[in-house]
């Protein structure tokens, strides 16, 4: 699916659905916009999508996943990745404020106190603060990685605040969650004493968010990601791996089998991954 095909699926309201015929959702809209940015999109389509995003920002500065949802969620981090000037400087700033106010529930004082009183400790949980998918829930790899990327973008705009510190805490959260095989699962690396296998999607996302770290710290994850790329079973997984590895200067070759794109979001990611392999990784600009 190329940019023109993706553009043809844009809804009348300016947003994109995950699949043809669906209502507009924030995630595919942002990814389609980013794909247009790297691959000669239609300016009118781009502006209609930006207008949809501007119209769907909530009072608290965040974005809902769909307009039917009355709650800002992790997709706010995705929106903060679109060109700031097109979104609007103040809208972008409010989005960053919203992100800076989010942590996983396990990082809350009440939860830590409860664990102390119950003698449960918590091990790695709660030591470093990541981001949840949905406010009030625990932190996970995907929203944490995308939030770090959004804050890095904000830092490049020299926005005030403790952004650098929050980025570092978030990156440490990701480092704490490395699975035994070197990659990243969706969350914890170990459940009830059993090691979890890592996933291509989350491994690629985490490597993207850790792109500034010294290679020596990421030797095992980078090796794991390259191994995953060779046996990956989805286009979406391969795209994230290619984006993550490219952030560390590595071009990943995929499996022999070519997997189809399933919806607007993964097709857009494919365009972003191809652009990264050609030298333009939009997540790092």
């Amino acid at each position: 699916m190329d940019v023109a095909s993706i553009t043809s699926l844009q809804n009348r309201d300016g947003g994109w659905p995950y699949r043809k015929g669906g209502g507009s959702s924030t995630e595919p809209t942002v990814l389609a916009l980013l794909a247009q940015t790297v691959d000669q999109g239609d300016p009118q389509s781009f502006e209609r999508a930006m207008a949809w995003l501007r119209a769907t920002q909530r009072q608290d500065g965040g974005w809902p996943p769909q307009t039917q949802v009355s709650q800002s969620t992790w997709v706010t981090a995705l929106v903060a990745l679109v060109p700031r000037d097109a979104l609007g400087v103040s809208r972008h700033a409010r989005a960053i404020d919203w992100l800076m106010g989010q942590t996983g529930r396990e990082a809350s004082l009440a939860y830590k106190l409860r664990n102390e009183l119950l003698g449960e400790g918590g091990g790695v949980i709660g030591k470093h603060e990541g981001w949840p998918f949905f406010p009030g829930a625990a932190a996970w790899v995907t929203p944490s990685a995308i939030s770090i990327l959004a804050l890095e973008k904000a830092r490049r705009y020299q926005m005030p605040g403790d952004i650098q510190q929050r980025i570092e805490i978030g990156q440490q959260f990701l480092m704490d969650r490395i699975c035994q095989d070197g990659g990243w699962n969706y969350g914890r690396a170990n459940t009830l004493g059993v090691e979890a296998d890592s996933y291509p999607e989350t491994t690629g996302q985490a490597l993207l968010a850790l792109h500034g770290l010294p290679a020596a710290k990421l030797e095992k994850p980078l090796a794991a990601a390259q191994a995953q790329a060779g046996r990956c079973q989805s286009a979406e997984g391969l795209s994230w791996l290619q984006l993550g590895l490219q952030a560390h200067g590595i071009s990943a070759s995929g499996p022999a089998k070519v997997f189809p794109y399933r919806h607007v979001a993964d097709a857009s990611l494919g365009i972003l991954a191809r652009a990264a392999l050609s030298g333009r990784n939009l997540f790092l600009e």
Partner: protein, 318 residues
């Protein structure tokens, strides 16, 4: 509506009495639920077997919209984790033959975003003609907010996929598995896949904080028009629902009453149903009692196959 005293607190004192009250007084139900246990394998014969089950239970779907909800969890070509595609196709064909106006297959995996690729790897594309046209990824579907009536969990409302909300009959097609958080995952727990990942994330962690057992009971109450066929041809024991070991049992278990179906599955797995907390919440001890379930087909004793349990769940052994 929420209660002044939270159910979960009250349950700490008297789970059985509360469940009994809710089951018998608030809902009302037939004295006996019918549950079928039939021998089956992953062969062409499963098509006839499923059709007979639907006739046996007088499932009237003429002119109705049916949504079949299998259990798709992980990449696993061995189909120990996921509902076998032959069973899903047999159900699809069965409901079509019974006169359903529209039959869809829908699922929203809890951990993996790449649902279609999971389905592909599990053999759904190869087994089910035009699968992509029939399938709805519930994680990415359009959603609507639903107020939870008298919820067990801490949630007052939830967002659900419109495909699930629009179904006249929701058919749970789970795998018979142990589960490291709730003991066993069967037809009722399978409804976790109705919760949209695009709203709540991967995993749907909001439900964990609101109480997993309570949320399962809420899902059961929110989608009351249901039927279940449990894939127990090869189940999973030990550290389910993903990292356990294959457990051949060679049966399908079916019925309209999900609590009765799951209680029967538990007995087949040699698990005490009343120790599975969400079953108690959703149904109560009387509904789970063997004397209140009319078993059709094979007897439990004939097919009983003790499932291995991890250390944390040894106390649920029947």
């Amino acid at each position: 509506m929420n209660h002044g005293i939270r159910r979960r607190d009250f349950l700490g004192v008297s789970a059985a009495s509360l469940a009994l009250t809710r089951c018998s007084l608030m809902r009302g139900r037939e004295p006996q639920s019918r549950v079928s246990i039939v021998r089956a394998g992953y062969t062409q014969a499963i098509y006839d077997t499923v059709r007979r089950l639907l006739v046996e239970h007088r499932v009237d779907v003429r002119g109705k919209r049916v949504v079949i909800k299998p259990n798709l969890v992980e990449f696993d070509p061995g189909t120990t984790i996921n509902t076998h595609p032959l069973l899903v196709h047999a159900a699809l064909e069965g409901f079509r033959a019974m006169g359903a106006a529209d039959v869809r297959i829908a699922e929203g995996p809890g951990h993996r975003r790449v649902t279609m690729d999971l389905a592909d790897a599990a053999g759904y594309f190869d087994t089910i003609p035009h699968f992509e046209d029939l399938f709805v990824d519930l994680n990415l579907d359009d959603v609507s907010q639903v107020l939870l009536r008298d919820p067990f969990s801490r949630l007052n409302s939830m967002y659900f996929p419109n495909t699930a909300l629009g179904a006249d009959l929701l058919v749970s097609l789970p795998k018979m598995k142990t589960h490291h958080w709730v003991g066993a995952t069967l037809s009722m727990k399978n409804f976790f896949g109705l919760v949209p990942g695009s709203v709540y994330g991967w995993p749907k962690n909001v439900l964990h904080w609101a109480g997993i057992d309570e949320c399962i009971a809420d899902l059961h109450a929110t989608f009351p028009r249901h039927f279940a066929i449990v894939d127990g041809v090869v189940g999973m024991e030990g550290n389910g629902p993903i990292q356990g070991k294959p457990k051949p049992v060679g049966v399908l278990v079916a019925g309209k009453d999900l609590a009765a179906v799951d209680a029967t599955c538990c007995r087949i797995m040699k698990i005490k149903p009343s120790t599975i907390r969400y079953l108690l919440l959703a149904a109560g001890p009387r509904q789970l009692d063997e004397v209140n379930i009319l078993q059709i087909g094979e007897t439990i004793a004939h097919v009983q196959t003790p499932f291995g349990l991890i250390e944390e769940w040894q106390n649920i052994r029947l």
